[in-house]
Amino acid sequence: MTIAAAQIVALSPLLMITGVGCLALLLDTMAKGRAPALWLAQLGCVAALLAVANQWMGSGSSQPIWSGMLIVDRMALFLDGVLIIAALATLLVAAPFMREHEFEHGEHYALVLFATAGGMTVVHATHLLSLLIGIETMSLAAYLLVASWRRQPAGAEGALKYLLLGAFAAGFLVYGTALVYGTTGGEMSYAGIAARAARAADNPLFIMGAYFLLTGMLFKIAAVPFHMWAPDAYEGAPTPVTGLMASGIKVAAVGGLVRLLGSAFANPGLALGHAGWVRVLGGIAFATMTWGNLAALRQENVKRMLAYSSIAHAGYLMIGLVALGQKVDGAQPALLVYLAAYAATTLGVFTVVAWVGRRDDERLLIRDWAGMARTRPAVALAMTVLLLSLAGVPPTGGFFGKFYVFRAAMQSPDLAWLVVAAVLNSLVSVYYYLRIVVAMYFRDPVRPWQPFPSVGMAIVLFVTVVVVLALGVVPRPVVELAAGGLVTHW
């Protein structure tokens, strides 16, 4: 394995995030207060974003790194951008949140960067080992982040469940890797697996290996029936961390799945047919969105409701993966547009959830949100826009994300039922999203509102709302980016 300078440059965003994470950890032990670590982490994100842009402008072709362990291509760079922005938003929101609730740790900021670095590794991975490393880096950081609010018993509980179940899922990942390695004659790179897949598809052990890998990844995106950890972990985690889990970690896992399914397991003998993952994933997609939406209907806790909503969105996303398996043109860019819109929306939503609470009064129940429109009209309006985006109502990014994914799926006649089910599901979801809107606008406040000022949260909220609306009104630039092109208009 040779390490050339060009490869270091190509991988600079990932290296920057990792390095800055380590530095922030160091700085936190040496510097006074938490602010230096925070500033360093934020600066690191900005620098990494610039590096991503630089790479995007620099080369159009994909570039294998370290003998095919990783790859730098347009999809990876696009998702890098989304992940880094998610990290930056999380940092901006986490700092005031932790100060308000008095549990600010400097490690927190480093951990956000480590989780992001893991996620970036996942979307760059073209080798089962690098995938595993990425997933584990991301997950370990996430376990710690969930548990970081030590005074909250719910946080510890959620983190423990997440850890135990995550370890179980990681076992499947490793075991699946072993099975695939064994049945393909020692292949672990995606390209190598794809080359042997046609013959290996006759071997039940290979298929089991593929499914074990799939299961491990589905656990990360919280697909039914591997989603059980999500409501507890989402609810227990500090709200900014929940936002990161629902946006960044989900984006990374879906990106990893797109790579895994789109290259290593793309062989028709493996994807189609009665044992093919297309059929199985279609069923899981249906179960996931339906379960998520039905369970969300009656939740009284906003965070828990959003956890189920995030499960439902994993279902919609899997429709795009199924279309990818059917070799539909444009399924991959559609997924990327969806991910970008979804990440922006989710970050905004959790920013509001983080912002409404005060010390010892998190205001997490829907009835706590009553009358918010009167005291904080701008925040209520922003929340309404974001919720409509989650529900997929135009003119928001959520609408266009769904539109592109569903349109891709509609090109395959076998998937029409899934799209119909998804549209019906979206319809059901409007009900619980609007419950929050109704509470904010049409109910009298039960307790007085005492908003706390925060520039960081205001920035994140403003930017996410603008992005969500811009994606809904002029989706073209992001669609062009997702298709791998440079933006030529606007």
Binding site: L165, Y211, P225, D232, G273, H274, A275, V280, G283
Partner: protein, 736 residues
């Protein structure tokens, strides 16, 4: 290409956005300074572009400002592009000029209004939307403007929403327009299906070339062009208040008077005329559609003029007069005389805006009342207003020299001379022309009645009002004087060629490239029409003076006594509102009640919501069984789920279709469903139900010859050798 074109709609739009967001924080002075400056600047930019590029504008297709691609979906690509040619340039100038004047007027008229910023924000928003409508280079962009002005109209009619009548007038306008907009959309879809684009220049070129995509028959033997033109006209009927959708405009007078002047007289309501002229080439392909446009216009012109005779509210008279004049314009564009229609649109903008602003000034003086039976003798108290009113009144009556005379004549002469209807419908033009002359008589009569009752004779107002009569402040009088000047002079743009060989029909020549061929009017006909219409105008004024000069006179009373039913019908506006109420509103309300009771209350509330609750409760209880929180159970679900997944995946799927074909004693079975198999499966066919497989192999089809007729049991076993799993399907076969 000048990218300042985009500044024209953007300036008022930005100002509107700013005023909506931050207007309340500013003083009145800053609010109206921002608003007036934005529209004024838009006027200056339009004038700059228009006059700087004038030679290019009127000799070519105009200037385009491509802002970017707005929509791209499949075959549909819509650019957000603005285009200024002679026609849209002229409209732009008119909208921004009149708009600026009315903004200034409003600063005086609404000086005591609480919600000052909101009013100016809406007014700015309106100007922006109208300019987008005018400048839009494709039908979707035009439609955005079209809907935008409709929205502003709704917002401004209901500006004083505290009173239920105003709010419901706004709703009426909005809903009536929605009916027309449906037609606009359908027309757009038809054009897109036929031509594959919605860019106006491309559509116009396609239509001028007589492309078969537009002339092919669509329904009932009529070409695509006819249906598209007809549906688009439906939109115009709504927006421009023609029969049968005119009913919203009189009610729209509930809005503040400057709004009536700007939106419901000078600009928005003429959008339909503009649209038809813009797409004139399309209409020329379908003479029947043109005849419908012109016919509806003439009918409306007459009908509204008759209704205006019996109205006693200042603004209502003007509203019906607007409807009638819009009818004139539609006859103009409907007879292929697009320049004539636009010319009248232009002069009408001046004199009608002037009349409305006079109405505002009068009502301002009369403490808000618009009842003309309580007015009279206002000429001495309101000298400036009276003079402006006189000019505008003579203009609308069509008295020579005044602008309305020339533009009305252009339409009437065009109607007599037109040849667009072809030999079979050649009688349409002269009939419409004659109808318009009658409508012109009515116009002269009701406008003179209005003048007499308001400004001549003794004042009939109560003492209190009479004591407070006063001329309006300069902010109101200034714009009035400018508009009066326009009403007097705007006619020079379209002098008949018979009067001036070198400077005749300027507007027609400017618009020649944009609008295409115009009807040729002989000099003799021009003279004849001018003479007749001048006589008619004077006759109408004279008659009105005999009836109403200095107050209601004896002949008027005798007329009312002799024709009581007719008078009552006219006063009651022929009870069209009541008829619509019975025909449309009540049945709909009944239907919605039925829907509410049956669908909403029973189906949704009881069954669906109730059903959901039961379902969700059950599901929730079940979910709670698993989501109790202990990790062991979560792990069990994980494992069970994975096991179920493997079970489902490993079993072969039964084919959705088992095809059995029987020919004589031979039966052929086919499971391939016309697709190539992906899985390497093994099939065993047992044709006679004896337990032995007659055909075994990788082929998903097989045939079998039965020894004798009878009833047989067919069994097919499908096996996946990878997992050693199988599934059996059974069918019965009858061999005859």
């Amino acid at each position: 290409m000048p990218s300042e074109l985009r500044m024209i709609p953007l300036l008022p739009l930005l100002s509107a956005a700013y005023l909506i967001l931050f207007g309340r924080r500013h003083s009145r002075e800053s609010v109206h300074r921002i608003a007036c400056l934005a529209v004024g600047a838009a006027f200056l930019v339009s004038a700059d572009v228009f006059f700087f590029w004038f030679p290019i504008l009127y000799q070519s297709n105009g200037l385009t400002d491509l802002v970017g691609t707005w929509l791209a979906s499949g075959d549909l690509q819509v650019d957000l592009a603005l285009r200024m040619d002679a026609l849209s340039g002229l409209m732009c100038l008119m909208v921004t000029f009149v708009g600026t004047l009315i903004h200034i007027y409003s600063t005086g008229y609404l000086a005591h209004e609480q919600d000052y910023a909101r009013f100016f924000a809406y007014l700015n928003l309106f100007c922006g939307a109208m300019l987008l409508l005018v400048l839009g280079d494709s039908l979707p962009v035009m439609f955005v403007g079209w809907e935008g002005v409709g929205l502003c109209s709704y917002l401004l009619i209901g500006f004083w929403y505290g009173e239920a009548a105003n709010a419901s007038a706004g709703k009426k306008a909005f809903i009536t327009n929605r009916v027309g907009d449906l037609g606009f959309l359908i027309g757009m879809f038809l054009l897109f299906r036929a031509v594959g684009t919605l860019d106006i220049p491309v559509l116009v070129d396609t239509a001028r070339a007589g492309s078969p995509s537009l002339t092919a028959a669509l329904w009932w033997g009529q070409p695509v062009a006819f249906w598209a033109a007809l549906f688009l006209f439906m939109g115009a009927v709504g927006k421009s208040a023609q029969i049968p959708l005119y009913v919203w405009l009189p009610d729209a007078m509930a809005g503040p008077t400057p709004v009536s002047a700007l939106i419901h007289a000078a600009t928005m309501v003429t959008a339909g005329v503009y649209m038809v002229a813009r797409l004139g080439a399309l209409y020329l392909l379908a003479p029947v559609a043109l005849a419908i446009v012109a016919g509806v216009g003439a009918l409306t012109a007459l009908f509204a003029a008759v209704i205006a005779l019996g109205q006693n509210d200042f603004k209502k008279v003007l509203a019906y007069s607007t409807i009638s004049q819009l009818g004139f314009m539609f006859v103009g564009v409907g007879t292929g005389n697009f320049a004539g229609g636009i010319f009248h649109l232009f002069t009408h903008a001046f004199f009608k805006a002037g009349l409305f602003l006079c109405a505002g000034s009068v009502m301002h003086a009369m403490a808000g009342s618009g009842d003309i039976t309580r007015m009279g003798g206002l000429a001495q108290k309101l000298p400036f207003t009276t003079w402006v009113f006189r000019v505008c009144w003579l203009a609308i009556c069509g008295v020579p020299i005044f602008s309305g005379f020339f533009s009305k004549d252009a339409i009437v002469a065009g109607a007599f001379a037109t040849e667009v209807f072809g030999p079979r419908l050649h009688w349409v033009g002269p009939t419409l022309g004659a109808g318009l002359l009658v409508a012109a008589l009515g116009t002269a009569f009701y406008m003179s009645r209005l003048y007499c009752l308001v400004f001549t004779g003794e004042c009939r107002a109560d003492l209190d009002t009479r004591a407070h009569l006063h001329e309006s402040p300069f902010a109101m009088v200034g714009p009035l004087l400018v508009l009066g000047l326009g009403a007097l002079l705007a006619g020079v743009m379209g002098l008949p060629p018979a009067l001036s060989r070198s400077h005749g029909d300027l507007i027609g020549r400017w618009l020649a490239t944009a609008l295409g061929r115009q009807p040729e009017v002989s000099r003799a006909l021009q003279w004849r029409v001018m003479a007749t219409s001048a006589l008619i105008a004077l006759a109408g004024i004279g008659l009105a003076w005999r009836f109403f000069g200095g107050g209601v006179r004896e002949p008027a009373r005798r007329f009312t006594a002799a024709w009581p039913h007719f008078t009552a019908a006219v006063r009651g506006k022929f009870f069209i509102d009541e008829i619509y109420d019975w025909l449309v509103v009540r049945p709909l309300r009944g239907l919605s009640r039925v829907f509410f009771l049956v669908v909403d209350r029973i189906l949704i509330d009881k069954l669906l919501v109730g059903g959901w609750t039961v379902l969700v409760d059950t599901a929730g209880r079940l979910l709670r069984l698993v989501q109790v929180g202990d990790v062991q159970r979560y792990l069990a679900i994980f494992a069970i789920g994975l096991a179920a997944l493997v079970y489902v995946m490993a079993r072969p799927v039964a084919p959705s279709e088992v095809k059995v074909r029987i020919e004589g004693r031979s039966a052929t079975v086919d499971l391939t469903e016309g697709k190539a198999a992906v899985d390497k499966l093994e099939y065993g066919f047992d044709f006679d139900g004896d337990g032995r497989e007659d055909r075994v192999g990788a082929a998903a089809n097989a045939n079998w010859l039965y020894p004798r007729p009878g009833h047989y049991q067919l069994r097919i076993r499908i096996k996946d050798p990878r997992w050693n799993t199988s599934r059996t399907i059974a069918r019965t076969i009858d061999i005859p």
